[in-house]
Homo-oligomer: 216 residues x 2
């Protein structure tokens, strides 16, 4: 009984996600679903990415349980931002994204970044209508997280290893991350980044531009 | 309809949680539910806490989606450890804890640490039968997390601000954490810690011993 309820909720979500994707395709927008644990640096990454992509225009949908802090931060650089407060919801849903899209002016937008709720478990496997999935992993979270949260990293198109400027202060073995990822996902690129220190940004920006070229 | 299903699941969970608590009380064991984002340092904290409490004996139930890495780490110091793999489950349930308790020898155990799945959303509000709730927050996650994830921090008996040895490398305002916490929870103690550097451990150990004295 319970499983049937969950299945029908997921099916309904997927139908809305497909409609979101059609809408984004029609507008020529590449949508990127950013997923990670809380505090891995999703908002900071966008604060550095969006100005670097200019004059190309970006919009953001940002999900959080509470507060509009991330939207306030991103409102300074993005062409348009909508904050989605999920209350107790541990991930964004396709319906929430559809409502966010209804509030956004997609005219002239090239990239839509969807910043999911900070959570390594629940956002995985919930289609929002995005074109690419990006999983972030920050170095202070430890070098064991790809093996411990495979459902997030297995379907990712790119894995960003963030806060590499902190590596010197940590007991961290990067090889473990590469090895664990290669066991579950040979397709994703792994990009080492520190948006704060400016490291790795060129590779990330080139990857984003390439995705847009291939998929829209 | 959907809400009824969820409510009945939660009620069933709470009944099992109450039974867990009765069982722990009968054995004179204080149970501590440790909750946080992935990689905030729950396992490292236990690796330092358990030997420091000796000759008092501790057991651990550790939840993860996959792998037995945490149990392997903790098996070196705890009297007994059971790993619970949740698959896609984003938090431990009272039933999983009941099954874990059935595998543990509680004889002579003073503290049972329940290391929940790394997640700032889903473990909150799910009673496992614990006596005290401890929420961890690591400094590299950022100083905005108490406001953004209030459901985790509001019911906590203690909030541990971990990895304070990294503060020098971060742009972090501790006052924000104290202010945000004071708005939603005036009961919890806030302890600044670095288990790795040994900072703050005496206060944490004293708090644990005090809880056991008062509650068992």
């Amino acid at each position: 009984m319970k499983i049937k309820v969950v299945e029908s909720v997921l099916k309904a979500n997927d139908a809305v996600a497909s409609e979101n994707r059609r809408r984004l395709d029609a507008a020529g927008v590449l949508a990127i679903n950013l997923m990670s644990a809380p505090g891995s640096g999703k908002t900071t990454l966008l604060e550095k990415t969006i100005p670097a992509l200019a004059p190309v225009r970006c919009a953001v949908l940002v999900g959080d349980l509470q507060t509009t802090r991330d939207a306030e931060r991103l409102g300074k650089c993005a062409a348009d931002v909508v904050q989605i407060n999920t209350g107790r919801g541990c991930h964004l849903t396709a319906t929430q994204v559809a409502e966010g899209l209804a509030s956004l002016d997609l005219n002239g937008i090239s990239f839509l970044f969807i910043e999911n709720v900070g959570n390594m478990v629940c956002p995985a496997g919930v289609d929002l209508g995005e074109h690419v999935r990006v999983a972030l992993l920050s170095t202070p979270e430890g070098d064991d997280k790809v093996a411990k949260y495979p459902t997030l990293f297995q379907p990712a198109d790119a894995v960003l290893l963030t806060k590499i400027d902190l590596l010197g202060a940590l007991d961290y073995d990067k090889r473990k991350v590469y090895e664990d990822l290669s066991r579950i996902n040979t397709r994703a690129v792994l990009i080492e980044l520190s948006p704060k220190a400016g490291a790795g940004m060129e590779r990330w920006l080139a990857w984003l531009r390439q995705q847009r070229g291939e998929r829209t």
